[in-house]
Symmetry: C2
Subunit: 226 residues, 2 copies
DNA sequence: TTATAACAATGATGCATATCACAATTTGGC
DNA sequence: GCCAAATTGTGATATGCATCATTGTTATAA
């Protein structure tokens, strides 16, 4: 029998549970290896578990009937997802796909729900997580509605830099396995437009491009596009 | 000393608390009358209370620096708002303004927090509320990113009809104190565009217009615009 | 390494929707 | 009920971005 409490202890949601509780919950957890492009769950499927990223990267996205994709988040180690289905027992509101090979943990809703009921601290933690998500989602709504594509892309780059960026000598580098199309699907535009705007940002010496990596070399100037 | 437990009992969030708890909480509540156009709180102010609508209507909105508005929700009797600041103690993420005269109740965060800690059921209710909000926000993100203005307006009308509509002989009537500009600010477009699209919907016999009221007379046809 | 497929860049064109300007209508205060 | 102010409707024009078409480039596998 595996003991996953080492993993759980690194997830902010479960941090500072007592080591006993941690062990107890970890016994209920399942951990699987996922390769790039593997699907974890599909939008609309009955939601039966809460997931957390141990390693690798995960993209959460929604589709329209005609097959166009809107990416909601890019998640990494420590992030939890599908928390809404734990609460309301509805279907998954979005799909989860692995975009960088890694390990994903899962906890069945039924198993976890008891902990929520008896452990108000954990409930509060889930609340905090959801309030953070809600704030982000509302900002996303505002930006999509009111900003042009330059503003949305600049804002997205700054966000990705904060969450996934690595500081380097020339600036913060975002090196995610995201193609132009996926970058476009993050901000509600097209492949071509992303190419053109990135070109403009580069011309203006806000960023540098190298293969799939994007380096922000002048954050202040990039912010003028917001 | 007023007893507001009659009001609280009608708020889904507090329903099925014991009548004792209800009374206890209601003693902490303050109720105020608000006239149309009065501001309840402003985006960015320190968040110090949770609010609930007893009567009247409230609009929740965010602004950009240059003064453009994005409306997030239209709320009515029974709805709770500013729940995120109860959890994360940050500033209000959006402003709340009364668009139809009525009574608004408030509960200071400090007073309520103890209840959350000791009453896991209430915490779960707040969780359910937030998960509902989050699902809605994510759908809004997807629609803003992927649908055209016709689709967004059709979808907004259907939503408003569900929440605020009244069934009548010819269809569901939405009669909210919202101008064209505000309708536009709900779906990220302009006054003029809303006018034109409503005109098209009317020409296609999806809706009827009478002063500020909008009646959906052919829901099925309206849905074809989605 | 070369072959082949996926992805990215670039230019030309078109369309949806913003913007602007003004007329028409409705609303709210006295 | 009347008037001023606010809101709405409507046409003309502008433009940001999508779409389409093509070429160039980068990954993947034999």
């Amino acid at each position: 029998m595996n003991d996953y409490s080492q993993f759980l202890g690194k997830i902010p949601l479960f941090r500072d549970l007592s080591s006993e509780e941690l062990k107890e919950i970890s016994l209920l957890a399942k951990v699987r290896n996922y390769k790039k492009n593997m699907l974890i769950f599909l939008e609309g499927e009955p939601g039966e578990a809460l997931f957390f990223v141990i390693s690798g990267k995960v993209k959460i996205s929604m589709m329209t009937e005609d097959g166009r994709e809107q990416i909601l988040h890019i998640l990494q180690h420590g992030d939890v997802f599908a928390e809404v289905v734990l609460i309301d027992r509805g279907p998954y509101p979005a799909s989860a796909e692995v975009i960088e090979t890694g390990q994903i943990g899962m906890l069945m809703n039924d198993d976890l729900e008891n902990y929520l009921r008896t452990n108000p601290d954990l409930a509060l933690k889930v609340l905090r997580l959801m309030s953070k998500r809600l704030r982000l989602a509302q900002i996303q709504v505002r930006d999509l509605a009111l900003k042009d594509t330059y503003g949305r892309l600049a804002s997205m780059l700054l966000m990705l830099a904060k969450d996934h960026g690595e500081d380097g000598p020339s600036g913060i580098t975002i090196d995610l396995p995201l193609g132009r199309q996926e970058l476009a699907n993050l901000i509600g535009t097209t492949r071509e437009t992303v190419t053109r705007i990135l070109g403009d940002f580069k011309k203006n010496k806000c960023i540098e491009l190298d293969k799939q990596a994007i380096t922000i070399i002048d954050e202040a100037k990039l912010k003028t596009w917001l």
